[in-house]
């Protein structure tokens, strides 16, 4: 079964061969003088009706070279052409009818994109009672992240209630003292305080003679007034079941975050070791290495997260159960740590 890489290589070869055959095809004199409309008519050679090529995937997961033709009539004669009927470098060639396409209405595509991204403004607004998936920031500070979910210590429901998020959100990468107040939303007003930093897992950076590895970017802050928050709720997510679940590749996931609102994606890999994460800037990178990471890609080419979504708890889409804690990413990939490990570290469970 061909891999994506093999199909790409075969595609390059296929295109070169296609151009070669098209260039060398005999051109009837009348056609050489002037182009004519041929819609609905079979062309002299099916190759003249090929208008797009690419890599496709069959239902069984096999990658193939895809060939698209303007009209259905030429498809019938495609089998007479060796290039269109035989595998290229061992990769099958699938021919499909694809009529001339019409561009989407721009306003319609904007509406779809907005709907898919949820409503970020709602996640940045003041919410009382406070659910999971909303903006949080240090009192009077200059940055924001996401309140992932609420967690509780002790199994009888009487233990203290905490906010779970990232170290780099609640502890500003090991810098904030315990007791630092956090507001919802980002605010300089002390009356918006909802929690105070309780504990964090230090992020370890390389030093001379030391190449430390990290597993989680996580911290908790104790809720100052439990009456101001609501457990068991994640803003704009219909189904949230606060029971931990192990992440799996191929798992469809969702999250509610401060910057992009509700997004969906797929887990690409789990237990990834050697992930380099930049805690500085592009110009002055400060790199920490993580093991046991989870990588996620957004649905339909949309980013799963952006800066400010850090701390979001990632849920399996169908069950609404937490699988990961988002902490890094770029425009394509989101990196998360195992939320079970974070909960074990602080001896808490989602509520």
């Amino acid at each position: 079964m061909a891999t994506f890489g093999e199909a790409l290589e075969a595609l390059e070869e296929f295109r070169a061969e296609l151009v070669n055959l098209q260039m060398n095809a005999p051109i009837p004199e009348a056609q050489a003088m002037a182009f004519r409309a041929t819609a609905g008519e079979p062309a002299d050679t099916p190759l003249a009706n090929v208008h797009a090529t690419g890599v496709g995937v069959r239902d069984d997961g096999q990658f193939v070279v895809k060939v698209y033709m303007f009209d259905a009539a030429s498809m019938q004669s495609a089998s007479s052409v060796s290039l269109l009927s035989k595998p290229m470098q061992g990769v099958h060639v699938d021919v499909e009818h694809l009529p001339v396409q019409t561009a989407f209405d721009r306003s319609a595509s904007r509406k779809v994109a907005t709907a898919a991204a949820g409503n970020p403004a709602q996640h940045q607004a003041r919410r009382r009672p406070v659910p999971g998936g909303v903006e949080i920031g240090p009192l009077g500070g200059n940055f924001v992240g996401t309140l992932g979910c609420f967690v509780r210590r002790g199994g009888d429901g009487a233990g203290p209630l905490f906010v779970l998020s990232n170290n780099h959100v609640l502890a500003n990468v090991n810098r904030f003292p315990l007791g630092t107040p956090f507001t919802q939303p980002f605010s300089a007003n002390a009356s918006d305080t909802i929690a105070k930093l309780s504990s964090f897992e230090p992020i370890r950076f390389p030093a001379p003679g030391s190449q430390p590895r990290n597993v989680i970017d996580a911290a908790i802050a104790v809720v100052t007034d439990p009456a101001q928050v609501v457990t068991g709720k994640m803003l704009n997510i219909k189904k949230y079941v606060p029971q931990l679940l192990a992440p799996r590749p191929g798992m469809a996931v969702t999250k509610a975050g401060r910057t992009t609102g509700v997004t969906t994606g797929t887990i690409r890999a789990i237990r990834v070791r050697g992930v380099q994460v930049n805690y500085g800037t592009r110009q002055n990178p400060i790199i920490a290495t993580f093991d046991n990471a989870i990588t996620i890609v957004g649905s339909n080419g949309m980013p799963f997260s952006n800066p400010g979504d850090s701390g979001s708890v990632i849920l399996e889409q169908t069950t609404g159960r937490p699988v990961a804690l988002l902490f890094a990413g770029d425009s394509v990939t989101t990196t998360a740590c195992d939320v079970s490990v974070a909960c074990a570290r602080f001896n808490v469970r989602p509520v």
Partner: protein, 93 residues
Amino acid sequence: MKPVRMHHPGEPTTEEPPQRLLDLADAIADPSVIQCGITTTRDGRWGLYVTVPADTTVPIASVEQKAEGFPVVYEAELSEPVRAGPAYPRRKR
């Protein structure tokens, strides 16, 4: 052959990855391997997930040998490390 730019895993055929695969993932130590983890192939088979520089020729013999028959998915490493950082709402974009 070059590594794929973006791997798309399928639903795994079993709930948990084989323990042997987990052990193998911890043992991969080829110098061209940047990251190593667990994934599934498009058809849901559990396998090794390996990132390598984009210009690396794959498959890598030492990795395949260590993989003991499990499929290996080679993905091109990102052009720069992913960033972990909050948002700064007062900064102008």
